[in-house]
């Protein structure tokens, strides 16, 4: 066994006993990976042991997902080995990994919504006789698999009719029925309510007893102590520590971030003015947003926290004109915006940085200059002709100011790193002179260095009298960057906290408030209930 691992799991929690660690079933041995010029993983060793839950912890962009993709055969390491049962193996594809008993439960579930629970569990290997599906065997095998995750549903229900939590259990049952010995759970709790998470953890405990090895990723630190055994902490693609899951949260954060949180967020020196720049009143979209009121003053940064699915992204998109809303108003600087018109929002000075940089923010094949100029293409034109040289030199200016690292502004956006790509989307609105910025996860997948630069940009916008509404799943970020924090849950605002004194616990308490009576969870859905 290699370096690291300074502390063995000293304090077993609950039923876990301090027997010596069983031999790992899966080991990533000094693996590294780079994409083009970017080193994503550097010399990382992780052991996954039967009956244990190995937690991967790190900020967005630390390399967790790359590591998981290596375990599940999607990526192959550039250096180092993948070892299964003590033998070095080549995982050339997801199939290779599955054959060795390694299954991954991704955030986006891999189910066919229109097919039944039984068919999904046995997808691709329905028992048949003479070419005809054997219904009785199908039902028996599916039932056995579902029993292992204690899921009591009608086998003939189309999977699409189940809630997300139960779909996840179907997916786990499917993996187990494929004899999975290693189960990789990629942020399984992100979309779950509190009680659904408890059900999932119950299943994890059961699988632990069955000696299934598990890898667990979560951004909820409190879940680590509840469910994990050992924690591998990643930062900027390197393994910085291996600690027991009982390690205090503060310590975990320190390891993850690498420095005190206070230094990570450059403080602003000015105070917000009185003038309300963005005024949102009673914004409602049936089933998604319920009577949201938000006021952001000139020079103010307002954070929006909440769990995935709380309606934060939907709120920003509605304000930006990207999505429709049923009632309510949006005013910018006293001027009312037309609903569902990005053009009118842009003209009024709104700049929207969407959450999915590549999917929604950039035209990857187009140049940096083109991407920076899209919002101002029409406004700077004359008689229908684009001002290409003017746009190019303005783009050059913004790129220099934002320190976008590139060969020149004619380079394709595709070739830049995540942080620099994010600066392009940001820069588009700097170029447009937008006074109201709606930022959706602006630092997701951005390395720490570029992240601080983005924070400085946010501060600069606020200092120049702009208003910023910031959505982030990164709690320390929301608290570190904002003046006040709004918390959403189930499409409603559940509270407001001053960022300077708020704690992560206070935010989390508000974020899960009412989450259980969320519209999409039907009352009879509790898997822990009723025997049949």
């Amino acid at each position: 066994m290699t370096a690291a691992a300074p502390v063995p799991a000293s304090e077993p929690s609950r039923s876990r006993t301090s027997v010596p660690a069983p031999a790992p079933v899966l080991t990533l041995d000094s693996v590294s990976k780079s994409f083009g010029p970017v080193d994503v993983l550097k010399d990382i060793t992780v052991h996954v042991r039967p009956g244990r839950v190995q937690v991967l912890l790190g900020e967005n962009g630390a390399g967790k997902s790359t590591l998981i993709k290596m375990m599940s055969g999607i990526y192959q390491p550039d250096g180092g080995r993948v070892v299964v049962d003590g033998k070095a193996v080549h995982l050339g594809s997801v199939r290779d990994a599955e054959r060795l008993g390694i299954a991954t439960i991704h955030q986006e579930l891999n189910l066919v919504p229109s097919m039944t629970v039984a068919e999904n569990v046995l997808m691709g290997r329905l028992p048949s006789r003479g070419g005809f599906v054997s219904r009785r065997t199908t039902r028996r095998l599916a039932r056995e698999a579902l029993d292992r995750v204690r899921l009591d549903v009608d086998l003939d229900t189309p999977v699409g009719q189940l809630g997300i939590a139960r779909q996840q259990l179907v997916e786990i049952a499917k993996a187990l029925s494929l004899n999975a010995r290693v189960l990789i759970l990629d942020e399984p709790t992100a979309a779950l309510t509190g009680s659904e998470t408890e059900v999932l953890f119950g299943v994890v405990e059961e699988l632990r007893r069955d000696d299934v090895a598990m890898v667990f990723i979560s951004h909820h630190l409190e879940e680590i102590a509840a469910i994990g055994d050992e924690v591998s902490v990643l930062r900027d693609g390197a393994l910085v520590a291996e600690v027991p899951a009982s390690t205090p949260e503060d310590e975990l954060v320190r390891l993850m971030v690498g420095r005190g949180i206070t230094e990570q967020y450059p403080r602003r020196t000015h105070t917000p003015g009185d003038e309300v720049l963005l005024d949102v009143r009673g914004l409602t979209r049936t089933g998604v947003l319920h009577g949201i009121d938000v006021q952001v003053r000139a020079g103010e940064v307002v954070g929006v926290a909440g769990l995935v699915g709380a309606g934060r992204t939907e709120l920003l998109r509605a304000i930006a004109g990207a999505d429709p809303y049923d009632s309510g108003t949006v005013h910018v600087d006293g001027q009312r915006l037309a609903p569902r018109s990005v053009g009118s929002a842009v003209a009024a000075g709104i700049g929207h940085v969407p959450e999915d940089r590549k999917g929604q923010g950039l035209v990857l094949d187009a140049s940096v200059a083109e991407n920076l100029g899209y919002a101002t293409l029409a406004a700077t034109s004359r008689a229908g002709f684009a001002d290409r040289s003017g746009q190019r030199s303005r783009a050059q200016e913004v790129a220099t100011r934002l320190r976008i690292r590139m060969r020149d502004v004619d380079q394709a956006a595709r070739d830049l790193s995540g942080g620099n790509q994010q600066k392009i989307v940001f820069g588009r609105w700097v170029l447009a002179g937008s006074r109201v910025l709606l930022l959706d996860e602006p630092t997701r997948g951005v390395d720490v260095g570029a992240r601080v630069e983005i924070y400085e940009l946010i501060n600069a916008v606020a200092a120049a009298g702009g208003a910023v509404l910031l959505v982030s799943s990164d709690l320390p970020e929301v608290l570190g960057v904002s003046d006040r924090v709004l918390v959403m849950s189930g499409g409603r605002l559940t509270g407001e906290l001053p960022a300077s004194t708020a704690t992560q616990d206070q935010v989390m308490a508000l974020a899960v408030k009412h989450a259980d009576d969320d519209d999409h969870v039907a009352p009879s859905n509790g898997p822990e209930g009723s025997p049949s």
């Binding site: 041995d29 000094s30 693996v31 590294s32 780079s34 083009g36 010029p37 080193d39 550097k42 010399d43 390491p77 550039d78 250096g79 180092g80 080995r81 930006a320 990207a322 990005v342 053009g343 929002a345 842009v346 003209a347 929207h352 969407p354 999917g359 929604q360 923010g361 950039l362 035209v363 990857l364 094949d365 187009a366 083109e370 899209y374 919002a375 293409l377 029409a378 034109s381 229908g384 002709f385 684009a386 290409r388 060969r407 004619d410 380079q411 394709a412 595709r414 070739d415 588009r428």
Partner: protein, 333 residues
């Protein structure tokens, strides 16, 4: 690669990859490669048969290329914006036929019949565009429907018989100062296409919409308006091609331009455009159309049967797209 030294082997290889990467090589592949292909093709044909490189034959190639090229220029807008237009052949026939009908039956002046024909294409294209942008039909389906509707209307109007064209349309089949008018039209259409794509707001917006529709929309680009425009332009250019065909024959034929949509798409793709949108140039499309015309002409001059010509053209299309796939794979790793 062994796990012994992870730093040493990765560093140089990334360095190397960075140098070879995009920009130049991408530009090279999209514009220069098809052009080189065209030159090589001409050279081979010249060696095989000196008759190829005569002034008369080259004009011939130009005239043969003009119809497909004009259609393909229109198609370039659509493909750059991420769509496809299967209706251009039928729309060309309908425009030619309606123009002839306006002159022969409705007794409109010749020039008005010409303008009326062009408007026909513009409207047909705009209808497809509305179906795509506002009706949310896939472009493939919307234009497949238009293909059928336009061909049907052509047959209804003509009752299945050719109609004599107006003098204004017939003039398109003549020569000016020794240069065939179709070649002049081809040149003008190419210049207009290049200017629209490169210089205008709507043109640059087409690249944004084709490259990433959602990003374009969230940047405030009027995506629906762009989509209607590209299909309307495609219809207009198809109508112009229809006039060229009718002009050459002095009559509008009900079965004119059948299957031309596939040649037009092929020309655009051979010219380096991507069917997934966001990439494509007028110059590339011109070269693509010329390659198709040169192959047809060359094989004719060599006496190869038209059946085999189909086979060769199919292979050329596959080859062109394969080169594009290779290039993209190289850029993305």
């Amino acid at each position: 690669m062994s796990g012994s030294s992870t730093i040493a082997p990765t560093k140089p290889s990334t360095q190397e990859r960075r140098l070879r990467l995009p920009g130049l090589s991408g530009q090279l592949a999209t514009t220069l490669l098809p052009f080189i292909g065209l030159l090589v093709l001409c050279l081979v044909l010249f060696i095989l048969t000196p008759n190829f490189l005569t002034y008369g034959n080259l004009l011939n190639v130009g005239v043969q290329a003009s119809t497909i090229a004009v259609m393909a220029f229109g198609m370039t807008f659509v493909i750059v914006a991420g769509g496809i237009d299967l209706s251009v052949g039928s729309v060309a026939a309908l425009s030619g036929m309606l123009s002839a009908w306006m002159f022969a039956t409705a007794d409109l002046p010749g020039w008005l019949a010409l303008v009326g024909g062009l408007l026909t294409g513009l409207v047909a294209g705009a209808v497809s565009g509305f179906a795509v942008a506002y009706g949310r039909l896939p472009a493939f389906i919307a234009t497949l429907a238009m293909l059928s509707v336009a061909r049907g209307l052509t047959l209804v109007i003509s009752d299945g018989r050719p109609i004599r064209t107006s003098p204004a349309v017939s003039w398109l089949g003549s020569d000016v100062l020794g240069v065939p008018v179709p070649i002049i039209v081809l040149a003008l259409a190419g210049i207009v296409t290049a200017v629209i794509l490169n210089r205008t707001v709507i043109g640059r917006s087409m690249y944004a919409v084709g490259g990433n529709e959602e990003a374009a929309r969230l940047s405030g680009i009027p995506v629906k308006r762009v989509l209607v425009t590209v299909f309307a332009l495609s219809g207009l250019f198809a109508a112009l091609a229809g006039m060229l065909i009718a002009g050459r024959l002095d009559s509008a034929q009900p079965q004119a331009a059948s299957g031309y949509e596939l040649d037009a798409i092929a020309a655009v793709v051979i010219g380096g455009a991507s069917l997934s949108g966001g990439v494509g140039r007028a110059s590339g499309t011109l070269v693509g159309a010329l390659i198709l015309a040169v192959i047809r002409n060359g094989l004719n001059v060599l006496g190869v049967s038209s059946f085999w010509q189909q086979v060769v053209i199919g292979l050329v299309i596959a080859l062109a797209v394969f080169v594009d796939v290779l290039r993209r794979r190289g850029t993305r790793t």
